[in-house]
Symmetry: C2
């Protein structure tokens, strides 16, 4: 079945807000096995809404329309639907009584604007009448038309719990679509592409696509098939084939983040971490502490932005700062070792560098970054030269630092061989 | 003039990628004084591209089409345009010779895929022939149709440097559109709305809209007018009227961030800052260090995630931690005072709290956060109870902390009266 999505809102055609609903609905519909013809974004304008709706009914098997269902004067979707479909607006007693009791509870008097919310085109069935702005659907000339509120959270709830299941019921030949995302870091996109060449090519229904998601590359495996088990099997085989080629460059799958993966590894190995960061400015700590329960394995993070703070908090000798500079492998080693020792944590991680746009020299240009890692057995440092804006240097440095921790945790011989 | 935007790409109708070009173009066109009828997002599918293009030509004064101009087999836009407009594809000698020399430089042999890039519909004029994927435009039945590559950076460049100026040339009655964004923090959106009531109402061409941008509210003032100076004046007057009502709740305008505003204030007052953060996990330091040159005023930031680190790095007395807990006004004061004194910075800022989802108690539920600020004259603490996810508690706590610094810097009596 082939459908389309219509998104209504003045703030979208003026570009003040970028639409989130269209992309979300397209994703959910695609994964459920439907084809999406297109997403049309239009303003709250009667003639445009009417002609867009007419076209959709003429060419698609179903349509999902969001936005413009509210109570204010610029919300005209319901009125235009009634006119276009030639169905008079009728008062929905159910919505009206729920509205009355909700307003009573809050001590608010009913206004004509509120009453407007209870008017639906004849034949409309209410979706989720619990909320004040409800959605509804109409089967028009055998085609289901779903009208959903524009507030992303409400729209998503109704789409997932009512629209998709409703459409699946109507599909005679079900197609199973399975998807998996593999997240890769440390390899260029073209290299990832090359390494995966040939995988899935002879398998009908298997698509592999590559998405650069700075600083990571995400591989999306999509499998379409008529049988559930076969689709599932193909997905597993394709994932295995890719993992075999890319090895530990794959750090996670689907929604997993690098910081989440590290959290699992630290927790399962009962290890604690302490960080000393300079040019990343707190970003590494911020990422690690985005994970619930991270206080179990993160002891502390010191952001040593001045030379004085490096000396005072990490006992980096003045001589090291003078001879090698704060941005050096030597300084990174001192930072990693001393944050580990002073905190009593198992693992010490450090980052020091020049995020720019100023502060670079010929010898150490903007993007020069050193990282250190220290355990009770050894302390080592690595140097990098990144490119890009201040923000992107902070991001890629934090990613390399976190990935180094991950690689050490899955294979601690790496600490010495890197 | 009324135009529309068509965005082409399979990855968009499957929802794998969310479109950035449509919103960008809509914004630029709106600010240049054009009306955007809608944004249509479709896949790389011949019949859909053809019918969408036909509709656009019939109903709009101009159209901007992006995507599908590349060299791979799924890029079919150019071919379909030629068919729809009934203009044969002809080889563009200029593009071909540039392509040849660029390939020669890189030692790559010319393939039919490359040659495809030099084929344009008859009558097309090339936009920016320097890039390999070039854009072009066709005046068809007196309506300009612009075809731009889908890569956001290239598309934006061509739009700003060729398309908008080209369209402005064609407009007989120029409309000036001026826009300003005022950023507000610390007031609920409904309250901001209430306080601004009546402003701009009697002014023709002035629109004020409110955009919640968690945790801030942005006020967008748009002024349309036929005369440059008058439009400019109305904008200034409206901004002044709003600022008068909202006072210091307005922290910045247009692209300014809170961390940027604080950076300016610290620099102009020659003050330095040191931070001790717990539940925000490094986010405050990360935000401050996103600003180039922040090493001039940020001395250090310690993320004290364990009680031990609070004692060791900040000398918070064990008795304070035992009697009041790490999440308390007392602890926040100790943290702020001691980070200031130990670092020698002018200002000490601290945050300690429970970001959740676990760790809350009846007395101190998830979202309980204390902040401290310390100068050589005084040390004070404030308590908050935030709601939401772990991520949003981190964000709103960091925003309140930064805003507190801003308010202190613009009026230091606030430190005592807050």
């Amino acid at each position: 079945m082939r459908g389309e999505i219509i998104v209504i809102g003045n703030e979208l055609v003026t570009g003040q807000v970028s639409d989130l609903n269209g992309c979300y609905a397209a994703r959910r519909l695609t994964l459920a096995g439907f084809y999406v013809r297109g997403i049309t974004i239009i303003g709250d304008e009667a003639s445009t809404i009417e002609s867009t709706l007419r076209c959709a009914i003429a060419r698609s098997d179903f349509a999902i329309i969001t936005g413009g269902l509210g109570s204010t004067s610029d919300d005209i979707t319901t009125e235009i639907i009634a006119k276009t479909l030639e169905r008079p607006l009728v008062q929905n007693a159910d919505i009206l009584s729920r509205l009355e009791s909700s307003l009573r509870d809050r001590g608010i008097a009913m206004t004509p604007e509120h009453q407007k919310l209870a008017l639906l085109p004849q034949g409309a069935e209410v979706i989720d009448p619990v909320h004040h702005v409800c959605g509804f659907f109409i089967i028009h000339h055998e085609k289901p038309l779903f009208f959903l509120p524009g507030v992303p959270e409400q729209m998503r709830n109704m789409l997932d719990s009512h629209v998709i299941p409703g459409l699946l019921d109507k599909m005679s030949h079900r197609t199973y679509i399975k998807e998996r995302i593999l997240k890769v870091f440390g390899l260029e996109e073209t290299k990832v592409n090359q390494l995966c060449q040939g995988i899935g090519e002879e398998q009908k229904g298997v698509t592999i696509s590559f998405l650069p998601r700075f600083p990571e590359t995400h591989i999306i495996i999509t499998v379409r098939g008529k049988e559930f088990q076969q689709t599932q099997d193909k997905l597993r085989e394709t994932e295995e084939a890719i993992r075999k080629r890319l090895g530990s460059y794959v750090f996670g799958r689907n929604g997993q983040t690098l910081e989440e993966v590290i959290g699992h590894l630290l927790r399962s190995r009962r290890l604690t971490l302490a960080i000393a960061e300079s040019c990343t400015g707190g970003l590494i700590g911020h990422r690690i502490t985005d994970i619930p329960g991270s206080s179990d394995y993160l002891d502390r993070d010191v952001v040593v932005y001045s030379n004085r703070s490096k000396e005072e908090l990490l006992k980096v000798p003045k001589k090291v700062l003078e001879d090698y500079g704060a941005v050096s492998g030597e300084c990174a080693e001192w930072m990693a070792r001393n944050i580990r020792i002073s905190s009593g944590a198992d693992l010490g991680l450090s980052v020091t560098g020049i995020a720019g746009p100023t502060g670079g020299t010929n010898e150490k240009p903007v993007g020069t970054v050193f990282m250190g890692m220290s355990t009770s057995r050894a302390t080592v440092a690595r140097g990098f030269r990144f490119q890009g804006s201040r923000e992107s240097i902070k991001i890629i440095a934090s990613e390399y630092a976190l990935d180094w921790v991950r690689r050490y945790l899955i294979d601690d011989t790496l600490l010495f061989s890197y």
